[in-house]
Amino acid sequence: MLDKNGIAQRIAKEIKDGYYVNLGIGIPTLVANFIPEKMSVVLQSENGLLGMGPFPYEGEEDPDLINAGKQTITTLKGSAFFDSAMSFGMIRAQKIDLTILGAMEVSENGDIANWKIPGKLVKGMGGAMDLVASAKNIIVAMQHVNKAGESKLLPKCSLPLTGVNCVKKIVTELAVLDVLPQGGFKLLERAPGVSVDEIKAATAGKLIIEGDIPEMDF
């Protein structure tokens, strides 16, 4: 079973040289730590930055320089600032190659719910609805089951949707799965020490298992 950093590390393997990537809040943010240094990858922050760098050293924080999670950050050489309309313009025009974000639920046809729990306080969707509606490639980073032990990979989402037919891949503490165009979660890899049966038990939606399922390779 993977911890949060393990999930982030596995997702980092999906990033290719030359990619522009948008990382959501939570586990996706950790992915930045696992991108190989020799790779040219540019991180977009939807509040108006391409070329996001690491956190600043103590005392070097700039209140005018934050990421979409409102954390103080730095920029890398070759970065550019822009306004919010241009930021979502480039997202909508699919100039960002990969979006990685968290989810409360994903359905077997690629619907995602991650912004609202009816009856609980709603904080808002931020940029998530724009990102999932437009991104060419969307990977979800999340726990396989919720705190109540219920599967988050469902035949159909029970929570209000953020977007439809958009998630391409899911990485959890248990497994890596593709969401197939025709529907269904195709099991690709098991986390170290996790059995196919454990994944079956934790997946409520249609799970497709073909042949031997290898353990993840880092």
Partner: protein, 232 residues
């Protein structure tokens, strides 16, 4: 060049009255018009509809106006940890409309560019689409979203000149540029006000034609919401 300078925030907001619709720039607490917010709080203008990406925190930014119950309605994309906001929302005192961040930004841009509506795929298939026109272009569904119509836009820039030209710093640009273009009357507060001619015309983000009033703000706190650092 036309001189847009006013003395201070109090003068700038003198004709903002109860019941108006305001746009406020900023993302979280980054790039918010601190001086204008203080003046609105001091004057206790009520029943406002505010369009802003976020709603501040309990004791800063728009949170200060929430505390005084100056807001009738909030249009935002994300309303973070804010206990007073939560209380007013649950009690029904505050009307809240949550919309996707890109939709928020683009509805501002539409107003600034004189376009009555735009199309975006954000929210298709979700409850955001309810009651909205859906239209298919090239096999993909889009929602038609209308341009905002705000009485005033209150924005914050890093530098500005007497002609109203604005330059923002880093990610404090965010919604400030599009809202500056969108306001029927745009008030810009800047950290550094310079004479016309001191800013390079190639470096200007918002041309002065979009700005009706400008002043140099005071006592900027520029609070950091999430201080994150790395080890040396």
């Amino acid at each position: 060049m036309i001189n847009k300078v006013v003395a201070n925030a109090e003068t700038a907001i003198a004709d903002i009255i109860d019941g108006m619709t305001l746009m406020l720039g900023g993302f979280g607490l980054c790039g918010i018009p601190e001086n204008c917010i203080s003046a609105l709080v001091k004057k206790n203008i009520l029943n406002l509809t505010c369009i802003s990406n976020n709603a501040g925190v309990d004791d800063f930014g728009l949170g200060l106006m929430l505390k005084q119950r100056q807001l009738k309605k909030m249009i935002a994309s994300y309303v973070g940890e804010n206990a007073e906001f939560e209380r007013q929302l649950l009690s029904g005192e505050l009307e809240v409309e949550l919309i996707p961040q890109g939709t928020l930004a683009t509805r501002c841009m539409a107003a600034g560019y004189g376009m009555p509506a735009i199309f975006t795929p954000a929210g298709v298939g979700t409850e955001i689409a309810e009651g909205k026109e859906i239209r298919n272009f090239n096999g993909k569904d889009y929602l038609m979203e209308l341009a905002f119509d705000a009485d005033f836009a209150l924005v914050k820039a890093w530098k500005g000149d007497t002609a109203g030209n604005l330059i923002y710093k880093a990610t404090a640009r965010n919604f400030n540029h599009v809202m500056a273009m969108a306001g029927k009357i745009t008030i810009a507060e800047v950290e550094h006000l310079v004479p016309a001619g001191e800013l390079d015309p190639d470096h200007i983000h918002t041309p002065g034609v979009f700005v009706q009033r400008i002043f140099e703000g005071k006592n900027y706190e520029k609070r950091i919401e999430q201080k994150t650092v790395r080890i040396r």
